[in-house]
């Protein structure tokens, strides 16, 4: 029963891993994936010394850290708020409504951003004009790129990511709430001393998982949001690998950059996991 799953994983997940050696070889069209001559770390050195290296690193880390912080905190806040709602049906409605955007495709999300943020006629542009914000070209600006990217990420996924926290909150022993009330705690104190501690194990696990993707800025969304005006801030490792590899055919060089990305991510995952194990006894393995 496991045979198809093992075959597909071996071929399509471990197959490309075998091809990683290309990062250390000179790609040779005639010899195929694994036939080129060994060149050692040549392509890594080329990347570290390239003029793009620092700007790629800065953009990638900046975008992913900002997304990580807001994308991680917002669902926790939302879950705590929804948990305060009295009445099952209202609670369910709020929850269902907030995670609807999760299922919209990235292409449509970026398309919506374009019509809503288009200068002078977009819905959001017009709305902001009420508040005196005028003349910003949100889609073609280096300063607006990251806020637009992060806020739309939060808008799309906050509700969905809060489900798991709500599940954890619904498992809190009701006696704890009773006891806190008898001790005279107000609602804020209950959130602080009952709700948040109940969420910590889930938070730790999800935090480790996000750390494992620290350099994994979402390729598709950034790629779709890119234009020549915002490129100085929006060019990240994954879009660069696509451009020089798939579009530019520099296979060995882009494999090396991709491998660098994967290894950093993996290191972050392992480190975050070790820290969590020490600090809170929660870990992935």
């Amino acid at each position: 029963m496991l045979l198809p799953a093992i075959t597909f994983t071996a071929l399509f997940a471990y197959g490309p891993m075998y091809g990683i050696q290309l990062a250390f070889r000179e790609f040779d069209f005639a010899a195929g994936l694994t036939g080129g001559d060994w060149v050692g770390l040549k392509y890594f050195v080329q990347f570290f010394e390239s003029p793009q290296f620092w700007s790629l690193m800065r953009n990638t880390v900046y975008i992913s850290l900002t997304t990580l912080v807001f994308g991680f905190l917002a669902p926790i806040g939302l879950a705590i708020l929804i948990n305060q709602v009295i009445g099952l049906r209202r609670k369910r409605f709020t929850q269902t409504a907030t995670y609807l955007p999760h299922f919209i495709s990235i292409v449509v999300i970026v398309g919506m951003l374009q019509v809503f943020l288009s200068p002078s006629t977009g819905l959001i542009t017009r709305f902001l004009e009420f508040f005196g914000v005028t003349g910003v070209n949100f889609l073609g600006s280096t300063t607006a790129f990251v806020p637009v990217y992060v806020l739309s990420e939060v808008w799309q996924h906050c509700g969905w990511n809060s489900i798991i926290y709500l599940a954890a909150l619904s498992n809190v022993d009701p006696q704890l709430y009773e006891a806190a009330k008898i001790d005279g705690a107000n609602k804020l104190q209950i959130i602080r001393h009952v709700d948040i501690p109940a969420l910590v194990p889930t938070m730790v696990i999800l935090f480790i998982l996000t750390m494992g993707g620290v350099l994994n800025t979402g390729f598709e969304k950034i790629f779709l949001m890119q234009n020549t005006l915002n490129l100085p801030i929006s060019e990240v490792i994954s879009t660069y690998v696509y451009k020089i590899g798939i579009v530019g055919n520099q296979f060995s060089y882009s494999t090396a950059i991709g491998l660098f990305n994967t290894v950093i991510n993996f290191a972050f995952l392992v480190i975050a996991n070790q820290i969590a194990k020490r600090v809170s006894n929660t870990s992935l393995w």
Partner: protein, 303 residues
């Protein structure tokens, strides 16, 4: 007893204020979430001039079906729709056939290789060969520009495997397996005749996850497909929504002939395209949502 209960019911002014604040915040969150989607729907059927001048806020104004007429007569959208439907249906069928039996086998506690095999699968969640080796491998085995590239490489999603395995581990009682064995059923019979019928909930969850994944897949078409008549809906959408490519009727195009005039119609077409492409998922939504949540809950049970 009664008096303590009454005391617990009593809400301090602080609590009342707090509840009001929560209610207002959440109402705002729900509005911010739903309004953009609602606006797309009403803008798609309103007069483009009124949308652009800011007259449309809560109700459609000056009903105009121009956008939808353009969309219905555009061949690219229909080709994209047909391709995506094909990839979604075949892809999800393959997904289910690969994922569910594997999840069941990995849930059996007496299965000795299950620990190392779980590692074999889970490792791929955190480490991969990267884009270029993947691309070259597909090239060598003939998956480039081939419809099966939408179906075979994504046949197994490890996250879904873990959810399904957790379900089988926690929800199929061991006694059932014992009883079936005493009745002479082997593992395959038990899986097909007992475990599968008992797992309709998890089958729906996993199937829905896979359906949405295929429906929204943009990356595969971008990187691995060259012929336009094989491209899925998401690529066609990209061309219309983001690259502003012109429509059959001449409306649209970034530097459109009529300047502002062309842009108005291009926007209406965009609103319409968003509605048409997202409709299948949204129609299913009310009846899917209870399953989607279930999936997250099962997944959160650490196995």
């Amino acid at each position: 007893m009664l008096s303590t209960l009454a005391r617990h019911r009593y809400r301090t002014p602080g609590d009342v204020a707090f509840s009001a604040l929560v209610a207002i915040t959440l109402a705002l969150v729900v509005f911010v979430t739903l309004y953009p989607i609602y606006f797309v729907v009403i803008a798609s059927m309103s007069s483009p001039q009124l949308v652009q001048s800011g007259a449309v806020w809560f109700l459609p104004q000056g009903i105009s079906w121009f956008g939808y007429e353009q969309i219905l007569s555009d061949q690219r959208i229909w080709t994209g729709y047909r391709n995506t439907l094909l990839y979604t249906v075949v892809g999800t069928a393959v997904n289910m056939l690969v994922t569910i039996p594997a999840a069941y086998a990995l849930s059996r506690r007496e299965f000795v290789a299950r620990k190392p095999l779980m590692f074999f699968f889970a490792f791929t969640m955190f480490f991969n060969g990267g884009l270029i080796p993947t691309y070259l491998l597909y090239k060598e085995i003939g998956l480039l520009n081939n419809m099966w590239v939408f179906i075979l490489p994504t046949a197994l999603n490890v996250y879904n495997l873990i959810i399904a395995r957790a379900f089988y581990e926690n929800s199929i009682p061991e006694e059932l397996h014992e009883a079936a064995r005493l009745d002479g059923a082997n593992d395959f019979q038990f899986f097909a005749l007992v475990a599968l019928p008992l797992s309709k909930a998890i089958l729906s969850v996993i199937m829905l996850y896979y359906l949405v994944q295929h429906w929204n897949d943009f990356f595969t078409g971008l990187v691995f497909i060259r012929d336009y008549d094989k491209q899925p809906l998401q690529i066609v959408l990209r061309d219309i929504l983001i690259s502003n490519s012109a429509f059959a009727g001449g409306a649209g195009g970034a530097g459109g002939t009529g300047g502002g005039y062309g842009q108005q119609y291009a926007d209406q077409i965009k609103y319409g395209v968003i509605v048409v492409s997202t409709l299948p998922v949204v129609i299913l939504y009310p009846f899917l949502q209870k399953y989607f949540e279930k999936g997250v809950m099962i997944g959160s049970v650490k196995g």
